[in-house]
Amino acid sequence: MSTFTPPFNWPMPPAIPMPDIAGFFERIAAMPKIAQIAQRVRKGATPHEVSYRDDKLRVLRYRPDDPKTYRPPLLMVFALVNRPYILDLLPGKSVVSHFVDCGFDVYMVDWGEPDAGDRNLRGEDYIDRYLHDIVNHIREMSGQDRISLMGYCMGGTLCAMYTALHQEMIRNLILMTAPIDFTPQNNLLSYWADPRYFDVDAIVDTFGNAPPWLLQMSFLLLRPVQNLVEKYITFYEKMTDEKFVEEFLAMETWINDNIPLAGETYREWVKNGYHGNKLVKGEWMIGRRFVDLSDITCPVLNLMARDDHLVPCGQSTGFNDLVSSADRQSIVFPSGHIGLAVSGKAQRDLWPKVCDWLAERSEKLAPSGRGKSPPKNSRARRGRSPARATKG
């Protein structure tokens, strides 16, 4: 039998694979189940009650009746541009539940959704008014002089500024991917915020608050292939896996739950941060005071995400060198910006460590879990602005 020898060596293309017809029909059959899971998506996993309200913000308190192991209480502060339940997304993907299960009294700020009347809110309103009142409320509720503070992303920057201005109120400070040094890090946001191409004054003067579609578009375009193509390919491949679908839909709910950002805060953030880099220079003014990070003396833990496309590590690393704390640590975790909170790896490897770090710097309570009653003098009232807010 003779064999055919081609006249020259053509590279053979890969064999055309058999299309996965059965898999396609399995996925079609899974659609009703996916619709059911979509209806079950909830915003927040851990039971809580509303402890405090002021204007549009609420402060959530998690499992207030559970016996506590540690004090002082912990307040979590998320960014102003998204909803905070990313920190409590699902059972098994909740940063809040790590601290609650460890025995901390956990509070979280839900800033609410600013409307046209809030366009003139500035950084000093969020820091010196809202956050200060919240901290005083928690001090009063817990009977503690100082609380622990944890901030995520822009919330971390707010927490750092608050701690610099009111160090006497803060026992421990944890930052998660908080932008401190806005020196351009070759990240896309630094390019897009270039004042030659981005007129923040025109945007704020025209729209009032920074519109949610602008913020949403910015976040999506930071990784367009991953966010607009790859994500849906992965969804198609795994849509018969119920657990994956549940996590996917919970994330999608949060990603698409954008809120506007108060106009003057947005203007301040872009000009003082991206354009002027004033925080590291000590030139960022809140109220009548300049924020000096060297006034921070409490223990500090600086968490950064190695693969963060939104806040590169370089924007957070310098924080530990600017504070005066004797006890300062940083952890660079292999994850993305949001993965630092919700990835399985972070839930397994990072958050138990962070809980341990905080537990070592907190006071362990007696087994009854009861703390001291609030002192008779007005210590808990010191610095509190007159009560416009209501509790519960």
């Binding site: 890969p14 390019y191 981005f198 729209f207 003098n377 007159p386």
Partner: protein, 163 residues
């Protein structure tokens, strides 16, 4: 006589240049290997290579001055459109005798300003009360009373008498 520029042809040129450039980048990224990759998941690997290459290409494009200019133009157009719409609505509201968005914004700003003044004043009073409670009561109480006595003397023209 030269023929006028054909907009369709120039658009086609831009389109062709873009996709040609895209294909060149993809091939340099290894999308078109000389030998087919070994293993059963060849399609998966090719998909991965394609997506990674596309990511890098799009990332470079998003940093380019051309994209930034396009972004700036888009934002300017969005701002211009919003201003036009706001202008139209303002005129319509004024014609109807209804309050405009500017009127509402001004009212809200006045209310905010009033609120800040009240809160600042109450805060100052709160601080004074705290100071009094923590033992500065005699010092603080003396000053307003002394000022009141001084004002009374000035009003009546009486001179201060030593006690």
């Amino acid at each position: 006589m030269s023929s006028p520029p054909n907009p369709t042809a120039s658009m086609a040129d831009v389109f062709t240049r873009f996709w040609g450039d895209f294909a060149a980048n993809m091939s340099s990224a290894g999308l078109m290997p000389q030998q087919p990759p070994a293993g059963g998941d060849a399609m998966k690997q090719m998909q991965r290579i394609f997506l990674d290459a596309m990511s890098k290409y799009v990332d470079d494009m998003l940093r380019s001055p051309q994209f930034l200019e396009m972004l700036k133009t888009s934002m300017n157009n969005a701002i211009a459109m919003k201003r036009q719409l706001d202008g139209f609505l303002t005129n319509a509201m004024r014609a109807a005798g209804a309050p405009t968005q500017e009127d509402a914004a001004e009212t809200i700003e006045r209310l905010n300003s009033l609120e800040r003044r009240i809160v600042d004043r109450l805060k100052a009073l709160n601080d004074r009360v705290d100071a009094m409670e923590s033992g500065g009561a005699r010092t603080l109480a003396r000053k307003p009373a002394a000022a009141a006595r001084g004002a009374a003397r000035r009003a009546t023209g009486k001179r201060r008498t030593k006690r």
